[in-house]
């Protein structure tokens, strides 16, 4: 066993063997891969459920399932996607794997806590599965669990919110670990303005995870207590106020949107400069905007409640504040685009996915302004327009950032390259399918088709059929991408240390990295995105690009 061996061959702690080397590991890289396995499973499952939903809606009336199943299915789709894919996705997988490496250290600050978070994650998932099969079946409340329905209905709400509670704890502890790592484990010579943007984005996210997650925890505790003891804290008959539930729920769940998107933005900030061979435009502005989004994002929760009957003052204030979030988000988009301007752009699958991200995220952001304005909101509230909007952000944004991260870091994580052509085809199909899927939903929403409805009027049939068709296209695209990635295990084209010409620390260590990440003490660059050295090297190699 030598120091240069990859972490796959070096268990940590060293005495572990076989399965135990994975299940009891303290190695952040192994944990990242274990998250990848679990999260990928949930993603595929929820994607399949989503496809079932859209298939049901492709024609009027009953198509493949009855109304009650439909309600439970969209709840399940939402709960899994939110709590088991989008929120943990990028931080738990790529954050775990790359945060310590980007900071020039060998592990996170609390390695055992990290393992514990993974078990909490698995345990939460298990609870969600159990709640499917015991009692009166999975809840049909939607992932928002609004009272009074969630307190009064007979389905298994208690168990499901317990699952979400545990998952929240897992997410919170990961955040705690990252913040401590960021402050205490960073290489001593790495100043605040020398930190890669992905690490910064994880830092901003981690704060939201720590400070917002407990609100949802207590809210879920209250649901369970209400179900058992009928205290009446949200029951108007007993003096309660159901709107306060919505306040509490969105106090977490709106910031959670930023837990989902900020790490994605971090990934894009890594990819764009590398393939433009040009330093990122406005490094400080991007750092600042990550923190600003995290802060401003915590001030706008009630914009989900414009039609709920809360006070007009509140509608006014929260609508105004919502517009604030647009500023730092736009700062990022402009920075990415400016980075590419006059760069020597080299097309690769991660870059293509990043570009699709920017496009879809911009649409998501702009439709968000339509919803953030109180006046237009009243027209489209709770319609398919909202569904399309948040899928543009969550799927077009975070989802595509996730795919981009997979393609970007795949060679580093597994030490192998994948083929580019199928990746391009898959990515393009996914992007096209995406537009086919969600643009009709935007239009349906403007025409007044409500969300979460099992059936609809005849005039909505064309749109729903088109959306369903787009859904299938989308799935075919994603399957192509995933199969291509998985085939790379069979082809085993070895990946070099730095296949892309990257400048951050993960591209200075072997692929896959050894157990302590660095063979030598890492050299911290004055600025993490200085490409002068890289361009020279590329010129010497005759300007040849990445391998396959």
């Amino acid at each position: 066993m030598t120091a240069t061996q990859s972490f796959y061959h070096t268990p940590a702690p060293p005495h572990l063997t076989g399965m135990k080397a994975w299940l009891l590991t303290h190695d952040h890289k192994r944990l990242g891969l274990m998250y990848l396995g679990a999260i990928f499973f949930w993603f595929v499952l929820a994607m399949f459920l989503g496809l079932l939903l859209r298939t049901e809606l492709m024609s009027q009336g009953k198509t493949i399932m009855d109304a009650a199943t439909y309600n439970a299915t969209f709840t399940l789709h939402g709960v899994i996607m939110i709590f088991l894919f989008v929120i943990p996705g990028i931080p738990a997988i790529f954050g775990n794997f790359f945060l310590p490496i980007q900071l020039g250290t060998d592990d996170v600050f609390f390695p055992r806590l990290n393992l514990f978070s993974w078990y909490l994650f698995m345990f939460g998932g298990l609870f969600a599965i159990i709640s499917l099969f015991v009692g009166d079946g999975f809840p049909d409340t939607g992932w928002t669990f609004y009272v009074p329905f969630s307190v009064q209905n007979s389905a298994n709400v208690g168990l499901t919110v317990t699952a979400a509670f545990i998952l929240g704890m897992s997410s919170m502890l990961t955040g705690l670990n990252f913040v401590t790592t960021f402050h205490r484990m960073r290489d001593k010579s790495m100043g605040l303005m020398q930190i890669p943007l992905f690490a910064w984005s994880l830092y901003a996210t981690a704060w939201v995870q720590i400070l917002a997650t407990p609100v949802i925890s207590i809210t879920f505790v209250l649901i369970v207590l209400e179900r058992f003891f009928h205290i009446g804290l949200f029951d108007p008959d007993k003096g309660g106020d159901p709107l306060l539930y919505q306040h509490l729920f969105w106090m977490y769940s709106h910031p959670a949107v930023y837990v989902m998107i900020i790490p994605g933005m971090g990934v894009i900030s890594e990819i764009i400069p590398i393939f433009s061979r040009k330093s990122i435009f406005g490094y400080k502005a991007i750092v600042w905007s990550s923190m600003a989004i995290a802060i401003a994002g915590s001030l706008v929760w009630a914009h989900h409640m414009f039609t709920s009957g809360m006070s007009d003052v509140s509608v006014f204030v929260f609508s105004l504040l919502t517009y604030l979030v647009a500023i730092p988000s736009a700062v990022k988009v402009f920075s990415w685009v400016s980075t590419m301007y006059k760069g020597s752009i080299e097309m690769t699958p991660p870059l293509l996915l990043a570009l699709i991200f920017i496009f879809l995220f911009s649409i998501g952001g702009l439709t968000g302004l339509v919803l953030g304005a109180a006046g237009t909101n009243i027209h489209v509230h709770d319609t398919q327009f909202v569904v399309a909007h948040f899928h543009f952000v969550m799927f077009g944004g975070t989802g595509f950032a996730f795919f981009a991260a997979l393609h970007f870091w795949w060679p580093k994580m597994f030490g192998i390259m994948y083929r580019f052509k199928p990746a391009y085809i898959g990515a393009s199909l996914t992007g096209i399918g995406f537009m086919f899927h969600y643009v009709p939903m935007l239009i349906l929403g403007l025409e007044g088709m409500p969300r979460r409805y099992y059936d609809y009027l005849p005039q909505y049939e064309t749109g729903n059929f088109l959306a369903g068709f787009g859904g299938y296209l989308l799935i075919i695209g994603m399957v192509t991408m995933f199969v291509n990635l998985l085939l790379s295990f069979k082809q085993r084209m070895p990946a070099p240390v730095d296949p892309w010409g990257g400048t951050t620390l993960e591209w200075t260590v072997p692929s896959p990295p050894p157990v302590h990440n660095f063979l030598h003490k890492p050299q911290i660059a004055d600025f993490p995105y200085d490409f002068t050295g890289v361009t020279e090297q590329l010129l010497q190699r005759g300007g040849e690009g990445p391998l396959p």
Partner: protein, 95 residues
């Protein structure tokens, strides 16, 4: 970023004095609660509670001797709490 910082040790006398102050403040807050001041009772009680909490934080919890990271992040947490309660009142107070 120094790992070898020596932790600050508080003497028993110092801790005892803090406890004394806390007990006196408890007596004051209970005493005041018997005086009927109408609306003012709640702000007074909360001010005294905040003072007590400050003493516990600064001395029992050593916040006075911690580095910048803990101090700033603690204040941010309090800020978040104030926002959560305060912003709810945009709705509750004007309904």
């Amino acid at each position: 970023m120094d790992n070898t910082e020596k932790p600050h040790v508080l003497s028993f006398t110092q801790l005892g004095m803090v406890l004394g102050i806390l007990l006196v403040l408890t007596a004051v807050t209970v005493g005041v609660s018997y005086v009927h001041l109408g609306f003012l009772n709640i702000p007074i009680a909360l001010t005294i509670a905040s003072t007590k909490v400050t003493f516990v934080l600064l001395f029992f919890m050593h916040l006075k001797y911690e580095g910048r990271i803990i101090n700033i992040s603690f204040l941010s947490t309090v800020g978040v709490l104030v926002i959560l309660i305060g912003f709810t009142f945009w709705d509750v107070a004007y309904r």
